[in-house]
Subunit: 339 residues, 2 copies
């Protein structure tokens, strides 16, 4: 019975040591590459390991080294539809990068403002570091992490310059998009954005403001609508913008944009002839809509991978950039009329 249940019992470092008539120390050294060891014995050990499919027990290794080879990824349990692709894609980038470095990622979903789950995981010594993803303006996870002095990096933006952060450059992206409109003589351009609780939405607005400053065009706050997280708020915003005679509307996400297009269509306002439209969050929604929408595209997967890499460096005690910004791409489609 026993034999059956242990059919594929894992072989340990001791097994290979005995088989090769060397010490565990030697085997360990051959694997880690640390410490002096002759090339000969090293190859011998490596060959045996390869042949017998030996895999070191990472848990035991971790115990001895006081490491876990795990990182935690904290994502909001209650994110909205619009943000799911961001989390999905960045998640994949993180997992792949971690895997490539023999790390694994533990998932922590935070509900509401409670950081109990993260706390538990840290108290249990289960991770070497953590990735916080796209945070709210008021984030209690940050406070927790700081108090525990555990390495962490924010995949997103924060005004707190003390926390490591890497993000896509929403500000520059939005700046260029709006700047192009202004440059094309479209000076009355409205902005419709989601919840101001999200730092990312505030960052986008900054890009909008930058563009006006750079173009020397007077900003009109009456053309800015934030916290439009429900269809009716978006519709109201569009109607006001129409009354303001805007020539262009920039939307902070694809859902907002599709509502905008719908409202404009209902009112028989032509896009782009009468009002131009552009958006963040390239998606099938925007690609397939009529007209196809000019939009900013970010590489979320690359963002995840980079964030993970930076955290890993940080865990290994290396110096890392305090803030890293990744680029963007502006895909121009039928909904706009600039170059």
């Amino acid at each position: 019975m026993e034999t059956f249940r242990n059919g594929n019992k894992k072989i340990t470092i001791l097994d290979v040591a005995e088989a090769l008539n060397v010490s565990k120390t030697t085997v360990s050294r051959a694997i880690s590459g640390k410490g002096r060891i002759s090339e000969d014995t090293k190859q011998k050990v490596l060959a045996y390991i390869e042949a017998n499919d030996y895999k070191p027990n990472v848990i035991a290794k971790g115990l001895a080294q006081k490491k876990t080879y795990n990182i935690a990824l904290v994502i909001p349990g209650d994110c909205n539809l619009v943000e799911m692709p961001f989390f999905q894609n960045s998640m994949q980038g993180i997992c792949e990068e971690a895997s490539a470095n023999d790390y694994d990622v533990m998932l922590v979903t935070t509900t509401g403002s409670s950081s109990a789950n993260l706390e538990r995981m840290i108290a249990n010594n289960k991770v070497d570091g953590v990735i916080l993803s796209r945070s709210l303006v008021k984030d209690r996870n940050v406070a927790l992490l700081k108090a525990q002095s555990i390495p962490f990096v924010l995949m997103g933006t924060s005004r707190d310059s003390k926390i490591l952060q890497v993000d896509n450059d929403h500000r520059a992206g939005c700046g260029e998009l709006v700047g192009r409109m202004l440059g094309a003589g479209i000076t009355r351009v409205g902005l419709i954005g989601g919840s101001k609780n999200y730092v990312v939405n505030r960052t986008r607005r900054q890009g909008y403001e930058d563009a006006f400053k750079n173009a020397g065009v007077q900003l009109e706050t009456a053309l800015i609508f934030e916290d439009c997280d429900k269809p009716d708020k978006i519709e109201a915003a569009v109607e006001k913008l129409i009354r303001e005679n805007v020539q262009g509307i920039v939307c902070m996400d694809d859902v907002i944009c599709s509502v905008v297009l719908q409202v404009l269509a209902e009112k028989d306002i032509l896009v782009p002839q009468q009002i131009q439209a552009a958006s963040f969050y390239d998606s099938t929604l925007l690609k397939n809509s009529k007209p196809a929408v000019t939009s900013l595209v970010f590489d979320d997967k690359a963002l995840g991978a980079l964030t993970c890499r930076i955290l890993l460096h940080c865990i290994q005690g290396e110096e890392v950039e305090a803030k890293t910004l990744l680029g963007y791409e502006l895909v121009i489609r039928e909904s706009t009329l600039f170059g």
Copy 2:
């Protein structure tokens, strides 16, 4: 220096043993509740632990017990927009349930058909069991898991009765939905579904067929359109269904449904007066569309939690149901005309 860096150094079982003048064994027993121990000393230990905020090192505990207190969650790295809410919500259910049982969940994203990442995690002994989520018809993860004889449960459906599975009852849900239409005299009802590579889409079709069988109505395969994973395929399907004079259309997801509504609107076909429509995947898309769409709603979070619970039971060697089905809710809105 040292002292600063170890400012919040974790206290170990030895520390509490010495502080209390008992053995590590005793402390361990007080915590685990295993083995004989006097109520007095137990309380003494527990009190000290509480007061000094001692947390056992789960890694060390795991090493000694040959357990990890981790489970892996495998999700497709490349799922489409429509499925994201499913993964997000079930993920949350899983994490919460795991947390409540002092387990943590490791994330594995599989790209394409490669199960390399899962393999690595298992080889590294990092998990006690794994949850496979909504699988493809041909799933190589299953084969891998079986070969390793590691506990796993599928959050979804499979024809392989040997694998533990828990799913929402898409079949019964679809059966009831279509059955209601048939019962209301709407006998020409079309079905438009996504990729047949997904088991869940096949399951839904079964429900559709069940309804016809139960109602004694002859099924017409000409009214069934599968693999409609692109807008143009959906449009083509709708046009054919119109020519077939259908009275109702059932869509397998909200994106399909929104395309269907769009096509019908373009052709000035009234919903529900001329053609009724219903869908799976309740979402804001369906709730806010005009008309609001009758749809099947499933509790993905509960599904995740239950799946996790079953896996945990399985890991603990308890008997579990081979297959568990969770209910559904049919939300009737303006797009249909039955009771």
